[in-house]
């Protein structure tokens, strides 16, 4: 399978990843690749810090209104949360595999894994919206002053929903951006842009995707599994 991929691509013209030369201000391709990785890691640091503000707000309000948080959390269905967690974890595996595929020049597997990752991301968003956001919103479990759920037992429940929608909403935005990035990778993978000597984009989007996953790993227990 692997060798067939490699042979068929070689028998035609040279693939992009073989022709690729680094930008002129770099001394070598390796240096350019390393720099891209450092840059992405720094960007991930900023992502963590962005969410740390939300976690901080979560901690403050949970300390102030523990009952509202416990109560609010019970309105979330842990089964959908778990399903989404599994989906994201699996997509992290497939994106990691796709990097390996690129390194090994397994072009078809690369495309399959990227496509699966992208589908997982879309599934996550679909579950989030159709099974969580929309049903909750329609019964009045809304953030802040829009809150109109008639059977609320705690006065500060609107704050809980504010935190919930802000945190998961910003996370969902990141997932959507991820869908875009994975789609971009997928199109490029069909053009044969990635291979053993050039897979920078796959690598750094993979890193991004892992952080999106990781943030969810923290959000899930904090939102769904508290008492």
């Amino acid at each position: 399978m692997t060798t067939m991929d490699a042979q068929s691509s070689e028998s035609k013209q040279q693939p992009y990843w073989k022709k690729y030369t680094h930008q002129p201000h770099w001394r070598s391709k390796e240096q350019e690749f390393d720099a891209a990785k450092i840059g992405m890691w720094l960007f991930l640091v900023t992502e963590v810090l962005l969410f740390s503000g939300l976690f901080c707000a979560y901690a403050v309000f949970r300390l102030l209104y523990p009952d509202a948080f416990a109560n609010g959390s019970h309105y979330l269905d842990w089964r959908w949360g778990t399903l989404n967690t599994v989906i994201l974890l699996f997509s992290s595996y497939t994106v990691a595999t796709s990097i390996h595929n690129a390194q090994m020049n397994q072009q078809i597997r690369l495309r399959i894994n990227l496509a699966i990752t992208m589908l997982c991301a879309i599934a996550f968003i679909a579950i989030k919206f159709t099974l969580e956001y929309i049903p909750k919103w329609s019964v009045g479990k809304r953030p802040g002053s829009w809150f109109s759920y008639p059977w609320a037992s705690e006065p500060h429940e609107p704050i809980w929903w504010s935190i919930y929608y802000s945190a998961t909403g910003i996370h969902a935005t990141h997932v959507l951006i991820g869908v875009g990035l994975l789609g971009w990778l997928l199109i490029r993978s069909f053009k044969g842009h990635f291979g053993p000597k050039h897979y920078t984009a796959v690598e750094i989007v993979g890193l991004y995707w892992h952080i999106v996953d990781l943030i969810w790993i923290f959000l899930f227990p904090l939102l769904y599994l508290i008492h």
């Binding site: 930008q23 201000h25 840059g39 503000g53 309000f61 953030p143």
Partner: protein, 591 residues
Amino acid sequence: MATIDTHTSATVEHDHHDEGSYLKPKGSMLITLIDWLSTIDHKKIGVMYLFAVFFMFFLGGVAALAVRIELLEPIRQAADGTITGSNLASLFGLKDYSVAQSGNLYNRFMTLHGAIMVFMFIVPGIPASLGNFFLPLMIGAKDVAFPRLNLLSWYIYLFGSMFGVIAIILGGVDTGWTFYTPYSTTTDADHLNVVLMVLAAFILGFSSIFTGLNFVVTVHKLRAPGMGWFDMPLFVWAIYSTAIIQVLATPVIGITLLLLVFERTFNVGIFDPAMGGDPVLFQHFFWFYSHPVVYVMILPAMGIISETLTIYSRKKIFGYHAIAFSSLAIAAISFLVWGHHLFTSEGTLTATIFSALTFLVAIPTAVKVFNWVATLYKGSIVLNTPMLYTMMFLFTFLIGGLTGLPLGALSTDLHLHDSYYVVAHFHYTMFGGMVVAFLAGIHHWWPKMFGKEYSQLGSKIGFFLVFIGFNVTFFTQFFLGTQGMPRRYASYLSEFQPLHQISTIGSFVLAMGFFVHLFVFIQSLAVGKKAKPNYCGGLTLEWETSSPPIEHNFHHEPMLRHGPYEFADVVPPQCEPGEYPMPDPVENNDH
């Protein structure tokens, strides 16, 4: 004495000898314009940033003058629509201006001044313009690590500034640049201005993050062969420390401002006490970014001073390692002092701890100042415009730094907080620090950037106007503050009037100084003499290329052969031996 002639012994790998200046037009006006707007050359992006931040500085400065005019009289005078009212209102298209809202107009100009100066001028100012231009040159690189990201961050900057300007045209924002809740969530409830202004700051944050990220990677990966960490010029150290703060602090303001937007648009209530939210939480979030960002403003300035001070006193910098590490120390401590902006809303213990941490910042800062003064000792000092500004920096920044200590001490802060003393203090650090150093840097590097010399006489006249104007404007405000004049007010007791009037006169002298500088720069671009490649005898790598630099920066791949400040041992590149004094080597250094 070992003298090394650098420009004959360079290796010949990539020869760019026949290449022209980066400023050379690519064709017709339109093609040249498109070339500039789509360039990924760090030099052009630096120049574009320079003009963008100059423009914003002009806008913010006009707003400041409007504020100062209003403060000429103790009673709100815009009420009769004479001075501040109609003219400036129509200038900025404040459509809902009316007599009843004149106090509002003052608030808006004050906010305009603060928000523009902080988010669109001081923060991006030095790193994005001079940093972009000189960081790669000084480390011997052909470009920054991610040139396209660099261009993107310029467009994001423009886009964010546009949001800010739209907010102004729609009627302005009156929250003060800090956007404190609940004020920012309740004012102008039916308008989008606050949301737009906050979004502007949010977007500008991205630009800042991308620039910072780019510089960190550039310094790590693109230094010339032979350049170790401690061979880097101190300007590079300063920009590097700044970039780290930008990357680490900006995301926090990002989420804060985003939550504020949610608060305004979706009423989420996180900062609203009526719903159980906490407005002080906003202040904590805000200052967790905005205090470190104070050092984003001042560290690059300190970097410029470290360069100009050594070059124009022809002496090796005193305590290179101490200065480099104090930059990092300031960057680290800056994250632990945000609480000193909230002394009055904190418990005693918390406030005491933050007070102690605040005093800690004074140590690395003083380390720098002492090292600079020691560098001057027995130097051959050239008093040209950049050096005059460097001297001014030492003078005004010292005042700014020392007047900060009474604000960091809890007992005196109780009397001084929210008064004009605070205004004077931070203008002495921001203007007396960042702007003055920026002016030093621009005058130092102007001929290198544009290949044209400027009039020394003209720029010195500008300097004296700025020096006098600045001190008259802001030194009076120390007195106003200690006498009890609160900040931010449009009306005041008539006993403060004389000092306010002196301050306003000073601000106009200051503005005149800037117009002289503007004129000198325009004259330089139009009819300036061609600058020599190394017109100040500098030893860092940017002096090895022509003025202005060629498209690919260097004629040969640069190779580091000496430290950045070894004036005693090295004939500067592209200079004749004896053109610059070679002092006796001084045994003061840690190399």
